[in-house]
Symmetry: C2
Subunit: 340 residues, 2 copies
């Protein structure tokens, strides 16, 4: 099969790899229907992380090809969405809703890889969720979004307690930030402040539910958020970048007692203890336990109550993966869907 390998910063190639096959009785092999490039893939692409020469990709919609002898909830032919972390969904950490730290957890982009034609998914019952039937073609992007960016944005919105009467601010206008806006809106927030200085993304942000746009950054951005929230700061703040600047902007935009949900993969961040202490905000985040939310998100999409697939503004064949990375790196695309 063909799959995407990153050889070094800026060097993405589609290469031939051995087809995956069942290895454990709890495995499934799926044929990838749609996959995509994640903002987190850009960290190694830009040289901030070291590429590991393994198959890239951790977002996927697929069709089950084969199942191991112990797989109970899936049959070949099922259309499935999975999360970016394999989980058994039975351990006590999973039971508490933290499948992204399952005691048997494996990051999909740490040796599995879904920017490919096929993938072997361990703990298939605990990782994959079947859709109610064969999805319409136009629904596939939304289901693909559920696999990571929607699930991640949703987690950030839930953990920051976005809801009625509680103003929300979102730091980061990438796909996850935009999905967090959609999530906050669904959860009932009325005031949603998108921090963005990019015209097309501002438009998408408004489409997903943003009611205010703040273009300023740093202290000025914080001041603008305070002006829009009775001088207090937002109650729910979502951080969807992962840099020192964005984390501090998020923390400082939060009112005392408010909540920061941070989901941007943290790079070179050091949080000053005294400022956190006197800020008196809640801080929670990390790799989103997407599996917790997948059944509900799939249903919302299936019922056409949400349309997160709009976050994909380009579609390309897998063979053009290099072009997809380049477009996202240059911010010419919010998110590129790849068709194997």
């Amino acid at each position: 099969m063909r799959g995407v390998i990153m050889h070094g910063p800026g060097d993405v190639r589609v290469e031939e790899r051995v087809d995956p096959r069942i290895q454990e009785p709890t495995d499934a092999v799926i044929k990838i229907v749609a996959t995509c490039v994640c903002g987190s893939d850009l960290w190694p692409y830009r040289g901030a992380d070291t590429p590991d020469q393994q198959l890239m990709g951790h977002e996927y919609v697929g069709v089950v090809e084969q199942i191991g002898a112990e797989v109970r909830t899936l049959r070949p032919g099922d259309h499935v969405v999975g999360s970016f972390v394999v989980s058994d969904n039975t351990c006590s950490i999973c039971a508490a809703g933290y499948q992204s730290r399952c005691v048997n957890g494996i990051f999909v982009d740490g040796g599995i890889g879904t920017q490919a034609e096929y993938a072997r998914i361990p703990y298939a019952d605990g990782t994959l969720v079947a859709t109610p039937g064969r999805p319409d073609e136009d629904m596939v992007p939304s289901l693909l979004a559920a696999s990571d960016v929607l699930g991640t944005g949703w987690f950030a919105a839930v953990t920051s307690e976005a809801g009625p009467g509680r103003p929300v601010a979102v730091v980061g206008d990438g796909a996850v930030g935009l999905m967090a806006i959609l999530a906050a809106r669904q959860l009932g927030a009325e005031t949603i402040i998108a921090m963005s200085r990019h015209g097309a993304r501002q438009e998408l942000a408004r489409e997903f539910g943003a009611t205010e746009i703040v273009e300023e950054r740093g202290d000025d951005g914080v001041e603008r958020v305070k002006e829009l929230t009775d001088g207090l700061g937002a109650y729910s703040v979502i951080e969807a970048v992962g840099s020192q600047e964005s984390m501090m902007q998020a923390i400082r935009s939060t009112r005392p007692g408010g909540r920061v949900g941070y989901v941007g993969v943290s790079h070179d961040v050091e949080l000053p203890g005294a400022e956190l202490f006197f800020g008196l905000v809640h801080l929670h985040g990390g790799p989103a336990p997407v599996r917790r939310f997948l059944p509900d998100l799939i249903q919302l999409i299936w019922d056409r109550k949400i349309d997160p697939g709009k976050v994909f503004d380009r579609t390309m064949p897998l063979a053009q993966a290099a072009e997809a990375y380049d477009a996202m790196d240059k911010r010419m695309a919010v998110k590129v869907l790849l068709q194997p």
Copy 2:
């Protein structure tokens, strides 16, 4: 009147000061019945903070002497307990339960000071809570504990969601850590791990409800906590020191999805973003909104359901404040009650 001034590290003196009087119609002047030395007073005493030459102290039980024209809930003669931050208790931050960051908030030890014979308390209605009547002599230490260390430990236990079925670990065996143990027990936690290597404090910890003692620190301490919690780490972890080592010990002792409640005043702490991110723990803390809990805590004490006053192992006249500081600095006393 006489009050305690810190002139420099290790230099505490009792000096004459002008008696406070009503300045604003929302003020009350109280006669201090009991006050004490706080672990946080030891930071400047040890030279880690700069003493500000103002009256020390922020914990207090008193009797109302005078009230301003707009004070509604108190009368001269009322016995009162107050928190260490003045709060109006009406702003939206107070309404959300974060009185320690009231928009009109003032730290009591930033210019008021209760290691003295009298104190002027601004926003008296929002800051002070009257006891149901004149407390018995033996109840005063417990009421004094409510003013800070009990309220702070309680906040840490609540915010870390201590309760039935959720193992608790407490980092720090000072008065706040000990009060957090009492709080966790009251909130229904069955497994409470006290991290302490000090015999007398271990004994007090067990008396307040600790079921396990861990003497190891750092990585070894974390390993011991994991051994005692099915390899997962505690769900609720309370940090009651404020150092880099204690914060990291707390964070690393917490299972994914678990909660760190940190109340040790943060000194030279820098939290590594990536470790926080992948740790997937909740982090919340800061100056405890003691006022939120005061009415309930006073009632629990009044009904003799809890006896937090046991945390005071020494009582001295205010005139011996220097000796009190010295005893706490050398860990010869857990907490010293001062009688003006």
